[in-house]
Amino acid sequence: MADKILAKDKLAEFIAALQKDKDVFAPKLDNDRLVWAPLEKADDIVWEFSNTEMSPKDFFFPQTECMMHFKNDPKAEDGMIMQAEPELAKERALLNIRPCDAKAFGVLDMIFCQDEMTNDVYWRDKREKTLLIGLACNDPCPTCFCTTVGCGPHNEAGLDVLLVDLGDKLLARPISDKGAKALSALPEAAADDAAKAAELKKAAEDSITQGVGTDKISGAEVLDLFNLPMWDRVHESCLNCGTCTFCCPTCHCFDIQDEVQGEAGRRVRNWDYCMSWLFTVHGTGHNPRHGKKERVRQRFMHKFKYIPLKRGGEIGCVGCGRCVQLCPVNIDVREVVNSMNA
């Protein structure tokens, strides 16, 4: 599929076309915080930014999501029987999503939709009805390390379209058929536009100097990594809060709970986190991951050993650096992984 060109002064048209049958969202500055918000007009688009504070995973996996409901009345004819929630009514587009976040959805697709039984219909429905238009990262942050975990500032995996900011215009690269369709009205890019984009890509990749090594982790036995003495120190300062997991684009653990109010009843899922003791505790009080050490170890082992082992080498981290920035005690994933890989 050929690269296209989207001039910035033609954005209004492009957005309007998207809005015909889709709700369009984009990053927006809200009191110094960059958040995802509905996009009304092209002028509101922010072009210079590192990344949104939180990952956009809640578009597909909301922090609180009603899965099903029931009539809380055992005597009613259909009482107490669970009924699934309706599917997403309208299609959506996420504009200017960063490649790392899109890559994360690719990883999550492998986890949420594995086979006929492990087929998370709530995730799948929203994924299928959302167009992802990525904005390549030309100026990665010092906390970014995407290039060292199989991703990159211009990475295309998981996206429908990749935009590269060339100043007054954007190179628009169709990646999926869905993406090609959205770009069909645009003119083709000239060869030097593509060359310029390639240059930007190279420069962005080269600017990422700090990262993680995972070569030895992938060759090591689970138990050898699990029993490394480093775990005795890594967890010491951890508060066991949920910050790293909630801001993480690939963390996907959840809890399921029932709620009732009079005749209304529902089953909801809420984000949960492996740092919480409650997460794994048995009804008997026994807890397989009883301490801070076990829980901290789980998070890193899951992302850098268990997921790759089960998902064809794919690492459960995209190097977005959010946890590095937000961890209240600065537990830096790069340091942890490098000591795992030592």
Binding site: C66, H69, E85, E259, V260, Q261, A264, R266
Partner: protein, 56 residues
């Protein structure tokens, strides 16, 4: 408790405290009536209400 609820905007009349001995039947009856009247006068609570029928 009363202060903090008031501080966040809950009407102070929704929370009442009283010492009533098990022997003070009449005081209990009076206080209960007063509490009911005070709360009824405020009408239904507007805050700290979770309505799963709405958010579902």
């Amino acid at each position: 408790m009363k202060n903090i609820l008031e501080y966040v905007g809950i009407e102070p009349d929704r929370l009442h405290f009283s010492w009533i001995s098990s022997a003070e039947a009449e005081k209990f009856q009076k206080t209960a009536t007063q509490v009911c009247e005070a709360v009824r006068a405020l009408g239904p609570a507007q805050h700290m209400i979770k309505d799963i029928r709405k958010v579902a």
